[in-house]
């Protein structure tokens, strides 16, 4: 495992090299979240709750949602597609490392990087400026665990899309489609409570909601019962194991059709 931690450390360091990048990211985040604040503020004008959620709950959900969305963007699919087209994938495959774990740990390094340099500063700033009352409770303690599980799930979708690049070489369209599907069905755009009941029920059976809806609900409604939280975490763990296994099996198929161009 030491080799994978070395890779993770490396990609964390690469993040540090481009320090101006995260200054702009923080600025962009703040602008986006301010716009969202005023948008939802006017939606809640004169109403205490909508669909049973208070303004603070909804805003915490939506604001955290966009912060988490940026955080969970692994870019693994884009990176893999680039590496396949340029033939760089060969450089990874000649090393005694597992491709899935290589991609996971490299992207996790940048995840930790953007968590510490972008997300945490942005969230702290928003709490201070807009005086958001983040409700305290058990959910807040479980939130980090849920977030990491969510990251692993998001990674599986991106890695799967990246592997499709072994077949199609370019994954531009596939990747955009995947982003939209995940964003809508996972509750990253709006809370799942805003969907019709039938669709809500279907969505709860799919892995998407475990990416955004689960961690965001924990943060926005931390006073739910601990049984609810435990079952939410169990569902996440179930999907992580399932999708990890499926993508591993898919890799074994995909690598057979691999063609490496150039050189």
């Amino acid at each position: 495992m030491r080799s994978y931690f070395a890779l993770m450390r490396g990609s964390y360091m690469i993040g540090l090299v481009y320090r101006f990048g995260f200054l702009f990211s923080i600025a962009g985040n703040i602008i986006y979240m301010s716009v969202t604040y005023f948008l939802w503020h006017s939606i809640y004008q004169g109403k205490a709750t909508i669909h049973g959620l208070t303004f603070d709950q909804t805003y915490t959900y939506v604001a955290l949602g966009s912060a988490v969305f940026i955080l969970l963007k692994t870019y693994v699919d884009w990176q893999m597609s680039f590496d396949i087209r340029e033939g760089m994938i060969a450089a990874y495959l000649i090393k005694p490392i597992d491709l899935q774990l290589y991609e996971l740990f490299t992207s996790f390094g940048s995840f930790l990087m953007s968590l510490s340099a972008i997300t945490i500063p942005t969230v702290l700033l928003l709490i201070i400026v807009f005086r958001i009352q983040i409700p305290l409770g058990l959910g807040l303690i479980l939130f980090p665990f849920s977030l990491i599980l969510a990251y692993l799930l998001g990674f599986c979708f991106d890695y799967f899309t990246g592997l499709l690049g072994f077949y199609t070489e370019s994954i531009w369209g596939l990747s955009i489609t995947k982003d939209i599907i995940v964003m809508v069905l996972s509750g990253a755009l709006i809370p799942l409570q805003f969907f019709p009941t039938v669709i809500q029920k279907i969505l709860l059976w799919l892995p998407f909601q475990a990416i955004y809806y689960t961690p965001l609900t924990m943060a926005a409604q931390p006073m739910l019962s601990w049984e609810t939280f435990l079952s939410m975490l169990a569902v996440q763990i179930f999907w992580v194991i399932t999708l990890f296994t499926l993508t591993r099996l898919f890799y074994n198929q995909a690598v057979k059709v691999l063609r490496i161009s150039g050189g």
Binding site: S3, A6, L7, L93, I94, P96, L258, I260, G263
Partner: protein
């Protein structure tokens, strides 16, 4: 049992037949019109531990495909391939530990990080212990003198420096086999010489087997005892370099720019050279590009300097270049039966 055993190995790719133009590109979206490209077709050879083998051929000959099969990245379509007694494709991670690879056209180092960080990451990936790592780094520093580059970002290195770092990286875990894919591409003469001497020493120190693919026949002459020539996926020649040396080692092309050039200059040059040197002198005069007259000389028969002096004294030469024979030329000569 030899270190690398290749028997009747083939690799075929299915490639979509692409049509021309925008409308063609649209129609290709729904096309199932594939053709099979035989990148490697029925090749066999054995390589022993400690050998330096030149694996050469023109572009698209199948060199890289063979290397990718030997490193376990690509699955052969047909035939037997064993490296150190194992099938590379089925044991990729295990086999990677005993191999090192340098791709001349792309770096394996971490582009945005200082050089030393890449080495440290590779140290962990290949599970090299600290004492061995230090010993190796000292050795490389003696051979190459890279210490001053350690804190530089890889992307700021010159091509030659980067290549030296890449070669160092590929030997870091003391592999049994190192594949060097075009290690001197785009480099100037002095760096080329340095890279060649480093490769030679590393081969001798640890008895590392080296498989070198290159376009530069100078690399092959300087490093290899044995060469394998491949073209269109098939092996044309496999054996001692001495026999092939005559094909490219001794030939040089003298490119001349002659003032007031006309058709008769070419015939004059031909007859004058034939008169002055033996009839069986092996000198060929031709014009391959505008303004340049090519005089190809077999140095085994006639010293290049003699020809140069003779031409300079008799013709108004304004510019001279000396060119080594090209890979395409060598392959053409092999086809023409030059190896008997």
């Amino acid at each position: 049992m030899s270190l690398i055993h290749v028997e009747h190995l083939s690799k075929h790719f299915k490639v979509l037949n692409r049509r021309e133009g925008l409308s063609g590109a649209f129609r290709d979206l729904f096309s199932g019109n594939y053709r099979t490209v035989k990148a490697v077709e029925d090749i066999s050879f054995d390589i022993e531990a400690g050998e330096i083998v030149g694996y050469i051929g023109p572009n698209g000959a199948g060199k890289s495909t063979t290397i990718k099969m030997m490193t376990g990245i690509l699955k052969p379509t047909d035939g037997t391939l064993q490296v150190n007694g194992l099938v590379p494709y089925n044991n990729r991670i295990h086999q990677a530990q005993i191999m090192g690879v340098v791709f001349g056209q792309r770096s394996q180092l971490w582009w945005d990080l200082p050089v030393i960080e890449s080495f440290k990451i590779l140290k962990e990936i290949y599970k090299v212990d600290q004492a061995t790592f230090d010993k190796h780094m000292n050795l490389f520093n003696e051979l190459v003198g890279l210490k001053s580059l350690y804190s530089q970002q890889v992307r700021t290195l010159s091509l030659g420096q980067r290549m030296l770092c890449d070669i160092t990286a590929s030997f870091l875990h003391n592999p049994q086999i190192v594949f060097l894919d075009e290690p001197t591409i785009g480099l100037d003469i002095s760096i080329k010489a340095k890279i060649r001497s480093v490769i030679k020493e590393l081969n001798q120190i640890h008895n590392t087997t080296i498989i070198l693919t290159t376009h530069d026949l100078g690399d092959v002459e300087a490093l290899c005892r044995r060469i394998i020539i491949i073209d269109k996926g098939k092996i044309l020649y496999d054996g001692d370099i001495k026999k092939v040396n005559a094909l490219f080692g001794a030939y040089r092309t003298l490119k001349l720019q002659i003032d007031n050039f006309s058709e008769s200059t070419l015939t004059d040059l031909r007859t004058d050279l034939a008169k002055h040197f033996d009839v069986d002198h092996g000198i060929v005069v031709a014009q391959t590009e505008e303004f340049w007259t090519d005089v190809t000389i077999d140095q085994a028969h006639t010293p290049l300097s003699d020809v140069l002096n003779f031409v300079m004294s008799g013709f108004p030469v304004s510019d001279v270049r000396i060119v080594e024979i090209s890979m395409e030329n060598v392959v053409q000569r092999v086809y023409d039966g030059a190896l008997g």
